[in-house]
């Protein structure tokens, strides 16, 4: 069986010209599907954009807790939110869309998060900013 039910190519934080393989497991997708969580399922469509070179605005390394230094948080600002498979609305104001990726590529979580005023910096994400690089 394939490692992921839904694979995605994500921009490589170390080399923006390259991608690496990420994805959502069958176990997680089927759970969301079985439980009838349509909003969460519909937002999977936003993941693809936020992981892409064109859609990602920031990438943080580490999840601010022990043994999770090899994980990533991708930050984007899609031009819409998906409330269901058929209901698409403008994005929530002053929020960014986060995709949490484990070191091996498994996507563990995706959701909107308030951003610090006038920026794309999500509240409560304390990992190391890997991209864009801030070195001059």
């Amino acid at each position: 069986m394939a490692r992921w039910l839904l694979p995605f190519d994500a921009m490589d934080p170390k080399d923006p010209e390259k991608t690496w393989k990420t994805g959502i497991t069958q176990d997680l997708y089927r759970k969301i599907q079985r439980q009838g969580h349509e909003a969460r399922l519909a937002r999977i469509e936003l993941i693809e954009e936020v992981l892409s070179r064109d859609g990602v605005k920031r990438i943080y390394g580490g999840w601010s807790r022990p043994d999770k230094d090899d994980c990533f948080v991708y930050v984007g600002r899609p031009d819409r939110d998906h409330r269901s498979l058929t209901t698409h609305v403008p994005p929530p104001p002053n929020m960014v869309f986060l995709v949490f990726v484990l070191g091996g590529g498994t996507i563990d979580e995706w959701n909107w998060r308030p951003a610090q005023s006038g920026t794309l910096e999500p509240d409560g994400v304390h990992g190391e900013l890997l991209w864009p690089e801030t070195r001059s």
């Binding site: 969301i32 439980q35 349509e38 469509e45 693809e48 807790r65 929530p92 498994t106 563990d108 909107w112």
Partner: protein
């Protein structure tokens, strides 16, 4: 941006069940427990190192949470209470993290525990 019709087709071919049912999801690799009481479109609010709240975008009510660093707690639970074959009452998990938050956070943890009790939610002991 161009949309991936293949992904859209997959989602439409594998749609969610018609009715939302509250659920928990344990991810051993991430060491995370995800809980949803309601199926509202939500956003996340980080409470502290261990707890992130999910709030409804429309009402701002707490509709779920994400508990990080859950494995040690689950390992230790049998020392403190009987874990039946059905699992452990989810509200106990929130009690364990109640002491790590400020007054506002404590209210949120109490709300989570009360809702877990009302909905009879159980944490399966396998992680």
């Amino acid at each position: 941006m161009a949309r991936n019709s293949k992904l859209t087709d997959f989602l439409k071919a594998n749609p969610p069940a018609k009715q939302f049912v509250p659920y928990t999801h344990l991810n051993q690799e991430a060491d995370v427990l995800t809980v949803y009481f309601e199926g509202d479109a939500d956003y996340s609010e980080r409470l502290n190192d261990h707890v992130t709240l999910y709030r409804s975008i429309d009402t701002n009510e707490v509709v779920g949470c994400r508990i990080k660093g859950i494995a040690d707690l689950i390992d230790d639970l049998p020392n403190y209470l009987r874990v039946s074959h059905d699992g452990t009452e989810l509200s106990v998990v929130f009690l364990a993290f109640r002491g790590q938050v400020d007054a506002n956070g404590r209210q949120a943890m109490n709300d989570l525990a009360r809702t877990a009790l009302e909905k009879n939610m159980v944490l399966q002991s396998t992680i």
